[in-house]
Amino acid sequence: MRRRLSYRPAIGGLVFVIWVLVLVMAVVWRPSNLLIWVMGTAVGMIVISGLSSGAMMMALRVRRLAPSDARVGQPLVLLYEVRNTSWLWPAFAVSIRESALGSSQGWLVSVGPGERCVVELAWWPERRGEVELEHVIAQSSFPFGLVGKRVTWRKRATITVLPRVVRIPAPRLRALLDHGPAGQRAAARPGHGEEFFGVRDAPELTSLRDVAWRRSASREQLVVIERASPSYPRLRLVLNLSEPTDSLAGRVPAGVKARQREEDAITMAASLATSAIALGHEISLRVHGLPCVAMPAAGGVRHLDRVLVQLAKLDLDAPRTTPMVSVPGDERSASVVIHPGRIDPSVGGAAALHQSAAQLPGLASWKGTEP
C-alpha cells in the first residue's frame, strides 16, 4: 500500500491570506497592541491548521471493502473502513473519493483516536463495462479550510457495471415467450419433474410427505421417494451485434446514435433475462458478432448475474465477426433475437421472435427500474 500526501490551495486559504494582509496593513497604518494580538491569533490559526491537519491526515488508514457489481442508473455504495492510528488526534471532516469515479465522494464527520469507522461513497454509474479503481483519496481542509490536504493510497480493484435493466411487465413477457411455434410449446409453469425416479435411504430431517411407507415397511428401513428434477420453461436470447457501429449509423433514423441503439439492444437483452428469471424461467445467451462466452440455459439469480456480467463486458469497439449461427431447435425453448438496427430474419431461424432495439420503449415500462 503506497501512500502519498499532497496539498491543494483552497478558497478559504486565499481569503485568509487577504485577511492577514489587511491586518498587517492595519498594524502599519495605525499601530496598536490589540491589532498585534489579533495578528498573533491569525498566526495561531496557521499553526493549528498545519499541526492538526498534517497529523490528522497522516494518521488515517483507509481500506476499501470488497466492492460489489454496479448497475447503470442505480447507485453503487462503496464502503471504506477508515482507521485513525493516532493515539492523540481525532480526525474531522474527511472526504473519501476514488480517482476513477469523478466527483462522487463520501464524508467522514469524525473518528476518534485509535478508532475506526465505515464511510459510504455513493456512485451513480452512467455506462456499463468494467471500471478500474486505482487510487483511494482522503481529503480534508479541516480545521479552517486554509489548505486542502490529500492522502492518496494505491488500491486496485475492478467494478463491473451491469447493463441498465428496465422493467418488463409479466403479461407482456409471457406474450413474448408464447409467440411463435417454439414459444407456444414452452410451458408456462414448471412441469415434467414430478415423475417417480426411484427410492433411496432417507436422510435426516426428511419430510414425512416424501417417505415411501410401503417400501419402508417391506425393507424395514426408512426410505424416501426420489423424483425427477423439475424442468422450467426456457428462453433463448440471441443478441445480434454482428453489424459494425459505423454501418449501423446509416440505418438508424436521424438524431439517433447508432451506439445508443446497440446499448439499447444490450439493455433489452438484460431486461428480458432479468424479467424471465424473475418469472422462474431458464435463460441462455448467445451473442453474434462479438467475442462472448455462450451461456447455457439455466435459472437462478447467480446464472442471471453471469449473463449480465457477460453483457456488461461486451466491447462494442472490438472488431465484429459475422458468423451466422442458427439457434438449435428446442421444443421447450422460446427464442428471442435482438437486433440493434433493422431486423435480420436470417439470424436465429424461422421460429425465433425478432425484436429491434427501437422497440425497447414500447416493450418496457419506463417508470419502474427492476421487476
Binding site: 491569533t41 495561531g44 463520501g106 464527520v109 469507522c117 479552517f144
Partner: protein, 750 residues
C-alpha cells in the same frame, strides 16, 4: 449537548463578543444595548425548540438595502464612510444574519462579520472593556470556525447520504453509536486550539518588532489622556474618560497633607517649537539630563548646595493608578525625589522634567517628589546647573499670528504703566523678563475674557484647507480645548518675541477631603504655557478658563465614580501591560528573561552536579564483577517494569473503545478476555473483517474446530451480556470467561 447546538451557542457568544468589543471601542452604547438584545433574542427565536428563522433571501435583501442606503448617504455627504461606519454596517449585518442562521455557511458568514468587527475594535479601542471581549473572542474564533467546518461536513455527508436513499426514509444520525462522540473529540481539539492560539498570540504580541512603529502613531495607544505630543492636526474629540490616573498627596512644609491654594499643574512634557507642517508642537532639541540613583526611603536632592530645603518646600506623593508611563509628573520646580534602590531618574535641566531612565515599565508606580512651587530665580538657576544665557528673542513660524497678537495686545495691555518695548527687551534681560510677564498676562487675560469658548468636541469646527489651526482658533472658530488655548497663547507670545513654551501634563482639581489627596483622572489631562520671567525662571500661565474646567469636572462626576476603586486597578494593569507595551518594554522583558534564565540555570547546574556525584558514587560502588551483575539485574528489573507498565497501559487503551473510559475493572477484564479470544481465533486463521459480527467468527471457527468455537461463543456471550445486555459484570462471569478463554487456548483442531 450535540455538535450543532454547541456550535450555535459558541457562534452566538463569539458574535456577541465581537459586537461588544466594537461598540465599546467606538463608544456606541445605544447600538451595543440594541444589538445585544437582538442577539440574545436570535438565540431564543432562531435556535430555540421551535426555530423561527428569517429566510436567507430576506436576510440578504435587508443587508443589501442597508449597504445601499449607507452608500447613498456617503455619496450625499461627499466623503467615503470611515472605519466606524463600516463597523456599524457589519454589526447590523451580523445581527440580521443571526436571525437567519440555518446552515454551516450562515455560521461562517456570521464569523466573518464578527472578525471584521474585531478588527475595527482593535483599530479603535484601547480600553480594557473593549480589549477583553476582543481577546476572548479572538481565541474563540478559530474554535467556532473549526466547529462550522465539522458541521459543514455533516451537512455534506447528509446530502451525499440522501442522494442514494429513498425519499421519506428516516433521517440518519452521524453521531457514532460506539467510541468517542464528535462532540467529545472536538472538545479536546477546541481546548488544544485555544491553547495554541493563545500561545501564538502571546509570542507574536511580545516579539513583534515595535521599534519601527514608535512615534506619533504608537503614542496614541498610551492610555490616560496624556500624550508626549501636542498635535492640532486632528479634529477628534479628546478623551474625557473618568479613569483614575493617579492620586497625589500634597504635603505642606509642616508635613501635613493639605489642599493647595490653587490647582496643581503636574508637568509631564514640554514643547517649545511649533511645526506648521505637521501642525504640532515639538520637544526641545538639546535636553541637558542629569541622572540620579534612588536610595530607598530617603530623598535624593538634585543639587546639594544653593537651595534651602526648609523654606517653602512641599512634597507631592504620587500613586499611579491608570497610566503606565516613564514620565514623572511633578509641579515646578522639583528639587529632590524619593525612588526605590537601583532606580535611575533623569532630570532635564532645561525643562525641569523628570523621567525614568532605567526604562522599566511602570517603574514609578509610587514616588514622592520634593518641590518648591515658588522657587526664586536663584533657586531655578541652581537647579538648571548654573548661569543660563538669555538667548535670542524667539519667533513664531506662522506669520498670520503676529497681527492677531498685536491686536489683542493693544486691547488688553496694562494701562497706566509702561512696558518695555521690543528693542529695549532685546538689549536688557531685566526689561525682557518684565515685558514677557506683561505680554503673557495681557494675552492670557484676552483668552480668558469670554470671547473664546472651551469645548472638547472639535467636530463642528470648520477649517479651510491649508489654514493653520491656531490662526483658525484665533480668527474664526474661537473654540477649542486646552491644547488650543495653550497653543494660541504660546504662539502669540513667541510671535511677539516672548520666551514661551507649551507644557502638557495633568491639572489636579478634585481634592478628596476624606482621603486628603487629589484624584487625577484622565479627563484632567491638560496643557498650559510657561513664560520665561527670569534668567532661569519660568512662570505658569493657563489660558484655559478655570471655571469651565471646574464645571466640566463637576458635570462628569457620576455615581459610578464610587466603584472606581474596583475598576481602576484592572484598567491600570491593562494599560501597563497591554496597551503601552512598546519597544522599550520589549527590551526590558528580554533583559528580565535573560536574568530569569540565568537564575534558573543555577539550580539546574546544581542538580547536574548532584547527578554527577551520584554517578561517581555508583561507579565506585558497582565496580568489579559483582557490582556489574548487580547493576545488570537492576537494569533488567527496571526495563521489565517499564515494559510491563507499557503493555498494561496499551491493553487498557485497547479496551477503552470497547467499554468506554468509565468502565469498571471487571468490565475491562471481560473486554480483555473478549479481545484475547478474538486474537486466538485470528491465530487459528479466522480473521474478523470489518462489518463481521463475533458470532460469524464463531461460525467460521466452528468449521475448523467446533470445540474452540464453543469456547469462543461463551466468551463473546459473556462480554455481550455485560456490554449490551445490561447484565452486571460479576466475578463469576469474569471467572467463567477466563476459564473459557483458557479452554479456547487448549482446544485442538480435529
Amino acid at each position: 449537548m450535540t455538535m450543532p447546538r454547541g456550535m450555535h451557542a459558541l457562534v452566538l457568544v463569539t458574535a456577541m463578543l465581537s459586537l461588544a468589543a466594537f461598540c465599546i471601542a467606538d463608544g456606541s452604547f445605544v447600538f451595543l444595548s440594541c444589538s445585544m438584545v437582538a442577539a440574545a433574542l436570535s438565540g431564543v427565536l432562531a435556535q430555540g425548540a421551535r426555530p423561527k428563522r428569517l429566510p436567507t433571501i430576506v436576510a440578504h435583501t435587508i443587508i443589501a438595502t442597508i449597504c445601499a442606503a449607507a452608500a447613498v448617504v456617503a455619496f450625499i455627504a461627499g466623503r467615503p464612510p470611515d472605519i466606524e461606519h463600516v463597523g456599524l454596517l457589519c454589526g447590523t449585518a451580523l445581527v440580521v444574519k443571526l436571525f437567519a442562521r440555518h446552515r454551516a455557511s450562515d455560521e461562517r458568514h456570521v464569523l466573518a462579520l464578527g472578525s471584521i468587527l474585531f478588527l475595527v475594535a482593535a483599530l479603535d479601542g484601547t480600553d480594557v472593556l473593549a480589549g477583553l471581549p476582543l481577546i476572548v473572542g479572538s481565541l474563540l474564533l478559530p474554535v467556532c470556525v473549526s466547529a462550522a467546518w465539522v458541521q459543514s461536513s455533516t451537512e455534506r455527508a447528509a446530502a451525499a447520504h440522501g442522494s442514494h436513499r429513498p425519499v421519506g426514509s428516516l433521517p440518519v444520525s452521524f453521531e457514532p453509536t460506539a467510541g468517542a462522540s464528535p462532540m467529545r473529540c472536538w472538545t479536546g481539539f477546541a481546548i488544544a486550539s485555544v491553547i495554541v492560539t493563545a500561545t501564538c498570540g502571546v509570542i507574536v504580541f511580545v516579539g513583534f518588532p515595535r521599534q519601527g512603529l514608535e512615534g506619533e502613531a504608537w503614542n496614541r495607544t498610551r492610555a490616560g489622556g496624556f500624550s508626549l505630543r501636542v498635535s492640532l492636526a486632528t479634529d477628534e474629540r479628546i478623551e474625557d474618560a473618568r479613569t483614575e490616573v493617579m492620586t497625589v498627596r500634597w504635603i505642606g512644609p509642616d508635613s501635613l497633607s493639605m489642599e493647595h491654594n490653587e490647582p496643581l499643574h503636574l508637568r509631564g512634557a514640554v514643547f517649545d517649537r511649533y511645526d506648521p507642517i505637521s501642525q504640532s508642537w515639538q520637544v526641545p532639541q538639546h535636553p541637558r539630563r542629569e541622572y540620579f540613583e534612588g536610595v530607598g526611603a530617603a530623598f535624593v536632592p538634585f543639587v546639594h548646595e544653593g537651595i534651602d530645603p526648609r523654606l517653602q518646600v512641599y512634597k507631592q506623593v504620587v500613586q499611579m493608578r491608570g497610566l503606565a508611563t516613564n514620565q514623572v509628573f511633578s509641579v515646578l520646580a522639583p528639587i529632590a525625589i524619593q525612588a526605590a534602590d537601583g532606580m535611575t531618574v533623569a532630570l532635564d535641566q532645561s525643562t525641569m522634567l523628570l523621567s525614568s531612565a532605567s526604562s522599566r515599565i511602570g517603574e514609578f508606580d509610587r514616588y514622592a517628589v520634593s518641590v518648591k512651587p515658588y522657587a526664586s530665580d536663584r533657586d531655578m538657576a541652581t537647579l538648571s546647573g548654573g548661569t543660563v544665557e538669555p538667548g535670542p528673542m524667539p519667533t513664531f513660524p506662522v506669520d498670520a499670528v503676529k497681527p492677531l497678537a498685536l491686536e489683542l495686545w493693544e486691547r488688553w495691555k496694562p494701562r497706566g504703566r509702561s512696558v518695555p518695548d521690543f528693542d529695549a527687551a532685546a538689549l536688557r534681560p531685566l526689561a525682557r523678563w518684565e515685558r514677557n510677564r506683561a505680554v503673557a498676562t495681557a494675552l492670557e487675560a484676552a483668552l480668558l475674557s469670554g470671547d473664546f469658548r472651551y469645548t472638547t468636541d472639535l467636530g463642528s469646527i470648520v477649517r479651510r484647507r491649508g489654514e493653520d489651526p491656531i490662526v483658525n482658533f484665533l480668527m474664526s472658530s474661537r473654540q477649542g480645548h486646552c491644547q488650543y488655548f495653550a497653543s494660541a497663547l504660546c504662539a502669540m507670545c513667541q510671535s511677539m518675541g516672548v520666551d514661551a513654551r507649551v507644557v502638557a501634563g495633568f491639572i489636579a482639581l478634585e481634592y478628596d477631603a476624606a482621603q486628603l489627596q487629589y484624584i487625577v483622572r484622565s479627563s484632567n489631562a491638560h496643557a498650559w504655557v510657561e513664560v520665561r520671567t527670569g534668567d532661569a525662571q519660568w512662570t505658569t500661565f493657563d489660558a484655559t478658563p478655570p471655571a469651565t474646567l471646574q464645571a466640566l469636572q463637576a458635570e462628569q462626576r457620576t455615581w459610578a465614580d464610587g466603584l472606581r476603586w474596583l475598576w481602576d486597578p484592572l484598567n491600570f494593569a491593562w494599560s501597563r501591560h497591554v496597551v503601552s507595551f512598546d519597544g522599550e518594554a520589549q527590551t526590558e522583558l528580554a533583559e528580565r528573561m535573560a536574568s530569569t534564565r540565568e537564575a534558573l540555570s543555577r539550580p539546574v547546574r546544581a542538580v547536574l552536579d548532584a547527578l554527577e556525584a551520584i554517578r561517581q558514587r555508583l561507579v565506585e560502588t558497582f565496580s568489579g564483577m559483582v557490582g556489574s551483575l548487580w547493576l545488570a539485574s537492576i537494569g533488567v528489573v527496571l526495563v521489565a517494569t517499564i515494559v510491563v507498565m507499557a503493555l498494561l497501559r496499551a491493553r487498557r487503551r485497547q479496551t477503552t473503545p470497547l467499554v468506554g473510559r468509565s468502565a469498571s475493572p471487571r468490565e475491562r477484564e471481560l473486554a480483555r478476555h473478549y479481545m484475547d479470544a478474538l486474537r486466538v481465533a485470528r491465530r487459528r486463521g479466522v480473521v474478523r473483517d470489518a462489518g463481521m459480527t463475533p458470532l460469524e467468527v464463531v461460525a467460521r471457527l466452528s468449521v475448523e474446530s467446533p470445540e474452540a468455537a464453543m469456547h469462543l461463543r461463551s466468551v463473546v456471550e459473556s462480554f455481550y451480556a455485560v456490554r449490551f445486555g445490561g447484565r452486571p459484570a460479576t466475578a463469576e462471569r469474569c471467572t467463567a470467561a477466563a476459564r473459557s478463554l483458557s479452554a479456547l487456548h487448549r482446544a485442538r483442531t480435529p
